[in-house]
């Protein structure tokens, strides 16, 4: 089973220091547009952009092109564009789970009955599969809390999972 990621999750997992472990252990696919969205900023020395570029070069993250017809149909139905459109289209076509931290993308995944997970779920799963320690999982979530993408209740709920 592969996982199709959008840019938001690649960036958040990089910020949480969990992207390398995650991509070492799992088959990860991104679309060409998502790759461009993530590496835009590498010229400014962005750590997440540089890490994602390295993981693609190493083959830990694979770029997969997709069918324009599927994309067009999903775009027309849900008015979703850019990286999230390609992520949803790719997972719909390949019947793989979507990893996203974007609400619009989550809502389209739900409407199309595509399985979805978030970066917080990945961290907890890595911990429960003993890929990372409890301390490391706590540190990852604390980094995301500090970054400020998720609301406090969400962070609290996932912190409870670590205990």
């Amino acid at each position: 089973m592969a996982i199709v990621c959008d840019a938001s999750s690649i960036i958040l997992l990089a910020k949480a220091s969990a992207l390398e472990t995650f991509t070492n252990r799992n088959a990860i696919y991104i679309s060409p547009i998502v790759y461009m969205e993530v590496i835009k900023g590498k010229e400014k020395g962005r750590f997440d952009s540089l890490l994602a570029e390295k993981l693609v070069k190493n083959g830990n993250i694979k770029i997969q092109k997709l069918n324009n017809l599927v994309k067009k149909q999903i775009e027309d139905l849900f008015n979703i564009k850019k990286g999230e459109l390609e992520t949803i289209s790719l997972s719909y076509k390949t019947k793989n789970t979507v990893l996203t931290d974007d609400k619009k993308c989550l809502n389209v995944a739900k409407a199309l009955d595509i399985g979805f997970i978030t970066s917080l779920d990945v961290i907890i799963a890595l911990m429960k599969k003993r890929a990372i320690s409890k301390e490391k999982a706590k540190d990852c979530i604390e980094k995301l809390e500090q970054y400020g993408w998720y609301d406090k209740d969400l962070i609290k709920t996932y912190m409870e999972e670590i205990k």
Binding site: M1, I3, D6, A7, S8, I11, F22, R25, N26, I33, V34, E37, V38, I39, K40, G41, R46, D48, S49, I80, K81, K82, G83, E84, T97, D101, D102, K103, K104, C105, L106, G115, F116, I117, T118, D121, V122, I124, A125, L126, K128, K129, A131, Y147, G148, W149, Y150, D151, D153, L154, T157, E161
Partner: protein, 103 residues
């Protein structure tokens, strides 16, 4: 390629531009062009943030509107204290899915 356009500007704006051009020893049109470019970038960013907050735009769509990378627009949002909108109810079942598929 550059194109010509005629615009009417406030007298005060012109005076400020002239003053700055003199100080920077450059020409007035260069100062005005830079002001317009910077102003447009700011307007694009504000529109992108507004669209994201109102849930009209996804994060990639907002980045595209602002002319930034996704990481850059996420940084701009979090700097302003703007968080992702989904709640635990929105993602019900996602942890279970993750435990099944993540190795």
């Amino acid at each position: 390629m550059m194109k010509n356009i005629s615009i009417r500007l406030q007298e005060d704006f012109m005076k400020e531009a002239e003053k700055l051009a003199k100080f920077e020893t450059t020409d007035k049109s260069m100062i005005i062009r830079e002001a317009l470019e910077r102003g447009l970038a700011e307007i694009k960013l504000e529109a992108a943030i507004d669209g994201f907050v109102k849930e009209k735009l996804s994060i990639s769509e907002a980045a595209d509107m602002a002319g930034l990378g996704v990481g850059e627009i996420m940084d701009e949002l979090t700097k302003r204290g703007i968080k992702q909108k989904f709640t635990i109810t929105d993602i019900r079942g996602s942890l279970k899915t993750s435990l099944k598929i993540v190795k």
